[in-house]
């Protein structure tokens, strides 16, 4: 069951269609409704290793649909402290609940000020409108 199109106000957005939920010096990362819709049914999630260092704007994993594979871009830099294990068996959760159960990783931020570069929900919606 596909989710409805939403872009929650409490998240920060990267122009490569990734979101971050920042809580103190940690953040939960995922892909936006737009990204999962463009990909179609996601059938595989290739996560980073526990403890891997993510660099802002660089790929840290892959999501793959029936027809295409796509790099996941880190909206922020940091160290992986948790990978969403549920997605390894049920990657379609990303389609069903992209901002909830479909989160991808949690990281400890190495530079919280990087968040200033990200878009808010209104800014991200505007970006989508322009595409």
């Amino acid at each position: 069951v596909a989710a409805e199109e939403t872009y929650p106000d409490d998240l920060k957005y990267h122009r490569e269609h990734d979101w971050a939920r920042i809580e103190g010096d940690t953040a939960t990362l995922g892909v936006t409704w737009y990204a999962q819709d463009a990909l179609g049914e996601i059938v595989h999630y290739e996560p980073p290793a526990d403890g891997a260092a993510l660099a802002k704007d660089e790929s840290y994993g892959e999501v793959e649909s029936v027809k295409a594979v796509s790099d996941i871009i880190a909206p922020l830099s940091g160290e992986v402290i948790e990978v969403n294990q549920r997605l390894l068996g049920e990657p379609e959760t990303i389609n069903e609940d992209p901002y909830g159960e479909g989160w991808l990783v949690r990281i400890r931020l190495s530079d919280p000020s990087e968040a200033d570069d990200l878009l808010d929900a209104a800014g991200y919606r505007q970006l989508l409108d322009e595409q």
């Binding site: 049914e41 059938v43 793959e64």
Partner: protein, 343 residues
């Protein structure tokens, strides 16, 4: 600027909200709802595909049967009027120019249904045929309930013409590319929308090229351009059964020699035993290359086809697929991955 061609059903696809993609020079629906749902509809009930992009070559004339018998790999003498046959068009190296279905209307009239991307190559190899692709729209209605929902009866690899299907005059053929019972319906382009609407009214699910690919891969039907090509022979591809090596056709002497020596590489089916989805072009570390791969909606595992050394092609053999730099374990299995229950 390359302009994509559109089938007579393009407006129907757009109205249904299909995701449209370029395919072999055509703008085609890859999915309507979801590839998984469409796939399951065909495996459990019935689905309809617009395959009007496929090409049709016709040979009418006293020598039609004999002409094609000398140029196509399968033994055309084994079929008569009203029958269809899977066959190959080969080059002088024994490579596969195209795989196609020949419909024998009579000894002096045969219709070939060929891959969209190969119409020109086929026509060049068979210059005495006429390209009549523009005269045909083609729908594939596939699935265990396909025939009963259409009120149509047709035996596998037979066909009839001028059959009334839901009020539209059609060529009805017991052929398809999904491994399920079903038929393909040829009609005039002007009748295509009327036929499409009537088929959907029977509760048949519209299906795109995405599901067409996962369905054909589960039953190990080769896709030209992926699994077979002018550089691969039928014997390498496991299509020796479609080659009558005791008759003359283009490249047959190469194939006879290869049959004697055994091909160096063979097309095998494999299942991933570690995470990752195999894709065309991925390297096999023990030697070889993936030609097709997907997540199988029916099996829930990742499956693929690959050319590997003949000495390492037995079912049970372990191989390692290079999934974008990550070595992932897979195992060769017996073809096909899926077989429908006989009725």
């Amino acid at each position: 600027v390359q302009t994509l061609r559109r089938t007579p059903l393009f407006e129907r696809h757009a109205a249904l909200g299909a995701r449209l993609v370029p395919f072999a020079g055509w703008e085609m629906p890859v999915q309507y709802s979801s590839i998984g749902e469409e796939h399951h509809a065909v495996r459990t009930a019935a689905g309809v595909f617009d395959v009007s992009h496929m090409g049709q070559l016709q040979f009418s004339g006293a020598r039609a049967h004999a002409y094609l018998q000398e140029r196509l790999s399968n033994d055309l003498d084994r079929i008569g009027a009203g029958q269809a046959q899977y066959t190959l068009l080969t080059n002088d190296r024994g490579g596969i120019v195209d795989d196609l279905i020949v419909y024998c209307r009579s000894d002096d009239d045969c219709l070939l249904v060929v891959n969209a991307s190969n119409v020109e190559a086929d026509h060049a190899a068979l210059p005495e045929t006429a390209d009549v692709s523009a005269e045909w729209a083609l729908l594939a209605v596939q699935g265990p309930e396909a025939l009963e929902r259409l009120d149509v009866e047709v035996a596998p690899f037979t066909f009839r013409e001028d059959v009334d299907v839901l009020g539209v005059p059609c060529l009805v053929a017991g052929t398809g590319y999904t491994g399920e019972r079903g038929c393909e319906l040829g009609c005039a382009p002007d009748d295509a929308s009327r036929l499409w609407d009537a088929v959907l009214e029977r509760g048949i699910t519209p299906c795109g090229l995405g599901a067409r690919d996962t369905l054909r891969l589960e039953v190990c039907y080769p896709l030209h351009g992926n699994d077979i090509s002018p550089d691969r022979t039928p014997l390498e591809a496991g299509l020796g059964w479609a080659c009558a090596l005791d008759k003359e056709f283009t490249g047959v002497e190469v194939l006879r020699r290869q049959k004697e020596d055994g091909p160096a590489e063979k097309l095998v089916a494999f299942v991933m035993e570690e995470p990752g989805i195999p894709r065309q072009g991925m390297r096999i570390e023990e030697g070889g290359e993936v030609t097709s791969g997907t997540r199988s909606p029916t099996l829930g595992t990742s499956i693929g086809l690959a050319y590997v050394a003949a000495g390492r092609s037995e079912p049970g053999t372990e191989i390692t697929v290079d999934v974008r730099g990550r070595p992932r374990r897979a195992r060769i299995v017996k073809k096909p991955f899926y077989k429908r229950e006989e009725d």
